[in-house]
């Protein structure tokens, strides 16, 4: 069994894991939970089996937990009143641009939550963590071809989920 210095690993990969969790969740408390769970799960996993790529494993675990949390949140939001926990961050663009960008990002977040878990993981690892097909395949124990197929399906579904709202946006105002 490999021996890892988890203090060093935590300090070394803290930023990447935190950004992965926060980018998907946009909520401090949820991201903190996800961050801790990812490290503890990686530690427990390393006790049972050898870990080849610690960074990829941590990103995979963080993405999985963030997507799970995102799906739970989306399920809740269907039943509860929407109190719009908007956490805008950068003050550079104007409020209207911020609102539009936030809406677009929120729609993508909601669309990811509607994807099947495996497709959502592949999409996030590829586009938000910049992992290669081979790294994703290694982490999810599937082939690189399967990664490509899952990615293609995920993109198709995301386009479908994003497209109607875009069409609605381009309509003339006030139904004229």
């Amino acid at each position: 069994m490999q021996v890892h210095n988890w203090q060093r690993i935590a300090e070394e990969h803290a930023s990447a894991v935190w950004q992965t969790a926060y980018r998907l969740l946009r909520n401090h408390a949820d991201a903190a939970d996800c961050f801790q769970e990812a490290f503890l799960a990686a530690f427990e996993l390393s006790q049972r089996q050898s870990v080849r790529n610690v960074r990829a494993l941590l990103l995979h675990l963080a993405t999985t937990r963030a997507i799970d949390q995102l799906r739970r949140r989306m399920r809740q939001s269907r039943h509860e009143a929407n109190d719009d926990d908007v956490e805008a961050v950068s003050a550079r663009p104007g409020p209207d641009v911020v609102v539009q960008n936030l809406e677009l990002a929120e729609r993508l977040r909601a669309a990811i939550a509607q994807l099947p878990p495996q497709e959502a993981k592949v999409f996030c690892l590829r586009y938000f963590n910049d992992l290669s097909y081979r790294q994703i395949a290694g982490e999810l124990t599937i082939t690189s071809g399967a990664v490509g197929v899952l990615l293609h399906r995920a993109k198709g579904k995301l386009r479908h989920l994003l497209e109607p709202v875009e069409a609605e946006e381009t309509r003339l105002p006030y139904g004229t």
């Binding site: 988890w6 203090q7 935590a10 300090e11 803290a14 930023s15 894991v17 935190w18 950004q19 926060y22 980018r23 946009r26 401090h28 991201a31 903190a32 961050f35 801790q36 490290f39 503890l40 530690f43 427990e44 908007v86 956490e87 805008a88 961050v89 950068s90 003050a91 409020p95 209207d96 911020v98 609102v99 960008n101 936030l102 677009l104 990002a105 729609r107 993508l108 977040r109 586009y127 938000f128 993109k155 995301l158 386009r159 994003l162 497209e163 875009e166 006030y174």
Partner: protein, 239 residues
């Protein structure tokens, strides 16, 4: 398809470009490290315990150095020609070593602790300042976004009301114009009917008057002694 690609690409870019904190908050990292330490060896790895460990280690090193020096001195003394009072020299050496090493160790430990606390406080201050700035910026943007959203909704509602009012006014105008046109047409019809009736009456009255005038003329001519050729012509025409 290009448009769909465009929106997905835009969404991904927006998602990736969102400003997010680059590092986790220190307390989250500390908690995670503590949990990892507990999971790894079951001991508490708090900073105070680490400091204690360092202090003990440095004390041990200082004691070992003192012992080494003392042993070297002792060996040197024993191997050298004997002098008068070994015990007194040994005592003096111990006192000298204690006096020279202990303050240095203490000073070193205090300096280390001070540096460590200073760096911790500085990091905490920076993190707090960053968090507060971020929170302030977030609150401002949130307020601006909410204000804009409310303003948009209000403007939208007012414009819809205005459009509805214009539409109602247009309908009313059309109804008024249609009613006015119908009334004008009805009046025109009545006027033409009355005019035709009046014309007919006038024609009848004119004809009666003409007949009466003709008869009066005939009677008048008949009563006249000299019949005019015109009257004869009239008689022959009548016959």
């Amino acid at each position: 398809m290009e448009r769909e690609d465009d929106i997905l690409q835009r969404a991904i870019e927006q998602f990736r470009n969102e400003q997010i904190p680059s590092h986790p908050p220190q307390e989250v990292l500390d908690t995670t490290l503590t949990k990892l330490s507990e999971a790894t060896c079951g001991v508490d790895a708090s900073p105070a315990r680490q400091n204690g460990h360092r202090i003990r280690l440095m004390t041990k090193l200082a004691a070992a150095a003192a012992l080494l020096i003392f042993a070297g001195y002792a060996v040197g003394r024993l191997s050298a020609p004997q002098t008068a009072d070994l015990d007194r020299l040994q005592e003096a050496l111990e006192n000298s070593l204690a006096a020279s090493i202990e303050p240095a160790v203490r000073r070193k430990v205090i300096e280390d602790l001070g540096r460590q606390w200073e760096s911790t406080l500085e990091a905490g201050y920076l993190a707090l300042r960053e968090d507060l700035t971020e929170q302030y910026r977030t609150d401002l943007l949130q307020a601006a976004a909410q204000t804009l959203a409310v303003s948009n909704a209000t403007t939208h509602r007012l414009l819809e009301d205005l459009i509805a009012s214009i539409y109602v006014a247009q309908v009313q105008n059309r109804q008024w114009v249609a009613a006015a046109l119908a009334e004008i047409d009805s009046t025109r019809h009545q006027d033409s009917t009355q005019f035709a009736t009046a014309l007919l009456s006038l024609a009848v009255a004119t004809e009666d008057q003409l007949e009466r005038t003709r008869k009066d003329m005939v009677n008048m001519l008949a009563e006249t002694p000299d019949r005019s050729p015109l009257l004869d012509q009239h008689d022959s025409t009548t016959k």
